[in-house]
């Protein structure tokens, strides 16, 4: 789950993480270079100044000891400083022959320094060599006896070496630590966005109780403010939708109560009247029924269009639903000398509300039964094509003029007024079907079949292994 969310946010998260890390690494690199540079720059100054004076004093002292007290005392003196600070001393006579017993073969720094000093026999100049942070320092010295020596030192003294943080390992470690910090920072910055995103998604899916605030804890930055504003918006939407729902329920109740009383009063009137009133009473009943149907469909349409209806994500077996609707429609078609035939019926699983989908399918099938002429059949088929369930109903009626095909899904649109009235439709059935199908991510269209009309509904299938298995082992369909 963590991984999934991570990938969901990969772009923002990775952008922040890598750009910060890159910046941090660049800063570390720049600082390192600057430090190295300024160190190299300052070194000659220091060697010419106080440090150089100290070294010269040390060298002269050592030379005096050699000159006065002999090589043994010199070795003692030099050895002490080697033990204390790791300073190596190389000692040569004027012609460059080593006087100390330290092997200098292979040490090019020392050798080149010695030859440099030899080339300036009269000079008191000090020479030095900086190599990989190691300092080789040398000077020609004339002892009080007048003998000339060449004194060279190798330093390991940290105070003279390059700053410790410049070692490559330390640089790598600090870049890695910077990476960790940047990772945490990126996480800190993007996690509220991630939470906000998941809540927006949840709200869009119909969970009106989705709120961000509890997940943000005690943050109070701009993202937290954004979260609070989202919560206020969600609060408002929830209030609007619930008041809309309440209003619809109230309208439904208030419109139907008189109808309920009307139908009871009608039956009472029937009981107490003689035969002459029967046609009129029948008419009252018929109109009452029509009004009732109209109220129901109008409410259904309003509910669909207002968004108050939340589409659940149940898995709906369309073929069962179609079969049930067809069974009912047959029942109603028989007295009208009409038929309903199932041509193809394939397993189709879609996601949504079975109640709404049933009413959509029912409205389309009823419409076909209504318009197909006597002794013909409305032909129903359900097939899946790639990732879509295709449901189509064909009737053998008069069809619809080509330029009006689009309009038949408009509420109260009537192609032929007289026919529609006599067939008892409300003019809302196809609109309800259209809204429902659209809410399920599908489409509906009508085309003339000459004779008759075909209405085709397409709804995306839900991807499930069950569907694949079922479609391969198609069971025989009882019609």
């Amino acid at each position: 789950m963590r991984i999934g969310k991570f990938f969901l946010f990969r772009s923002l998260f990775l952008k922040i993480f890598f750009s910060f890390w890159l910046a941090a690494a660049a800063i570390i690199g720049a600082l390192t270079l600057m430090a190295r540079f300024s160190y190299s720059e300052s070194m000659p100054e220091r060697l010419r100044g106080s440090v150089g004076e100290g070294l010269a004093l040390y060298a002269e002292t050592a030379v005096q000891i050699y000159d006065h007290d002999g090589p043994r005392a010199f070795a003692d003196f030099v050895h002490r400083s080697y033990v204390e600070s790791g300073t190596q001393v190389f000692f040569f006579d004027a012609s460059g022959n080593p006087l100390s017993n330290i092997d200098v073969h292979g040490d090019e720094d020392v050798a080149s320094l010695v030859s440099q000093i030899q080339q300036h026999p009269q000079s008191q100049e000090r020479f030095y060599h900086l190599n990989l942070g190691k300092l080789t320092w040398g000077k020609g010295i004339i002892a009080s006896s007048g003998r000339r020596f060449i004194f060279v030192m190798h330093f390991h003294s940290p105070s003279l070496g390059p700053p410790v943080f410049l070692s490559p390992l330390r640089i790598i470690v600090s870049i890695l630590i910077a990476g960790l910090v940047c990772y945490l920072l990126a996480l800190y910055l993007t996690s509220p966005v991630e939470k906000l995103q998941s809540m927006v998604k949840s709200l869009a899916e119909g969970n009106l109780n989705a709120r961000v605030a509890p997940q943000l804890g005690r943050r109070s930055d701009e993202l937290a403010v954004l979260g609070h504003e989202f919560d206020q918006m969600a609060e408002r939407i929830a209030a609007l939708i619930s008041s809309q729902k309440r209003l619809l329920a109230d309208i439904s109740h208030e419109l139907r109560s008189p109808l309920a009383r009307l139908s009871v009063a009608l039956e009472l009137a029937r009981k107490n009247s003689d035969g002459k009133a029967v046609p009129a009473l029948d008419r009252i009943e018929q109109e009452g029924e029509r009004l009732n149907k109209l109220v129901g469909q109008l409410l259904a349409l309003t509910r669909l269009e207002s968004g108050a209806e939340r589409i659940p994500a149940d898995i709906v077996p369309l073929e069962e639903l179609v079969q049930q609707v067809v069974d009912d429609a047959k029942f109603e078609a028989r007295p009208l000398h009409k038929e309903v035939k199932v041509m193809v019926l394939e397993h189709c699983r879609v996601r949504g509300s079975s109640e709404l989908l049933r009413s959509a399918v029912e409205n389309v099938v009823r419409n076909a039964v209504r318009y197909t002429v006597e002794n013909t059949a409305a032909e129903v088929s359900l097939q899946w094509k790639l990732d879509t369930a295709v449901f189509s109903v064909r009737d053998y009626g008069p069809g619809v003029p080509g330029d009006e095909l689009e309009n038949i899904f408009q509420p109260f649109y009537r192609v032929s007024e007289a026919r529609e009235r006599s067939s008892g439709g409300t003019g809302l059935g196809l609109s309800i079907a259209e809204r429902t199908v659209t809410l399920h991510g599908g489409s509906i269209r009508a085309q003339n079949a000459n004779p008759g009309l075909i209405v085709v509904i397409e709804i995306p299938l839900t991807p499930s292994p069950e569907h694949k298995i079922a479609s391969h082992s198609q069971r025989p369909v009882s019609v």
Binding site: L259, R261, S263, E320
Partner: protein, 234 residues
């Protein structure tokens, strides 16, 4: 003929008066309650043969009344639901209502439904001698209207009981939805009537599958339902 006492729980007082007048001629005596709590109290007094309950009630919803009622009483209940609210209907039948009628209803239809319920509930007690029915793990006792599954008692509503009885009598045979409706609800099936499917699915859920997850009640598309014999391949 003594009028059969019927209780109507509905907040529409005018409707109550009209219905009372109408039902009088049908030998049904209607008593009314206008809100949930008082309706529940009256319904629990066990002086009514059948209760007509509106789902949309102020204060306490009809479904809550039904839930409370079913804790203590098995009096038959006919629900009046808002048309188009399938959820109310399914919930109502699951909570133990015997049948439902979408409102606004035709009073003739109401009388037919009431008579069907009364026939079933009073008729069952006097129906001829029929002994217990046993099939595999299920045992049904008509005289006590009780059902045992693997020795454990299963609580069924009146309609579910009659449905199971019908199934067991014709186990292994396909029974059409029309016949099941007639047998279990005592009335002919009307178009666009899904209540038998709800009852079947409730019964299926309460009984569970046979041992080994074998399906117990199978829908036959376009025909009806079949109560499978144990070991029978669906």
């Amino acid at each position: 003929m003594v009028p059969v006492p019927v209780l109507l729980i509905d907040d529409d007082t005018e409707l109550g008066k009209l219905l009372e007048e109408y039902l009088q001629s049908e030998q049904l005596h209607l008593d009314t309650a206008h809100d949930g709590p008082s309706g529940l109290e009256k319904a629990l007094s066990s002086q009514y043969a059948v209760v007509v309950l509106d789902v949309m009630l102020p204060g306490m919803s009809g479904l809550d009344v039904l839930k409370q009622l079913r804790l203590k009483s098995s009096v038959p209940v006919l629900m009046l639901t808002a048309r188009g609210s399938e959820l109310d209907r399914i919930l109502g039948l699951e909570l133990g209502a015997d049948d439902y009628l979408p409102k606004p209803f035709n009073p003739r239809e109401l009388v037919a439904r009431l008579r069907a319920i009364l026939r079933r509930t009073t008729g069952a007690a006097t129906a001829g001698p029929s002994g217990p029915v046993r099939l595999a793990d299920v045992e049904l006792h008509p005289e006590s209207r009780s059902v045992m599954r693997s020795g454990e008692s299963v609580t069924l509503t009146g309609a579910e009981f009659d449905l199971l009885h019908t199934f067991l009598r014709s186990a292994g045979k396909i029974i059409s939805r029309e016949d099941l409706t007639q047998a279990a609800l005592g009335r002919p099936m009307s178009p666009v009537d899904r209540s038998i499917d709800v009852h079947v699915s409730n019964l299926r859920r309460k009984l569970g599958p046979y041992e080994g997850e074998q399906e117990r009640i199978k829908a036959i598309r376009g025909s009806g339902y079949v109560y499978l014999l144990p070991g029978e391949q669906p």
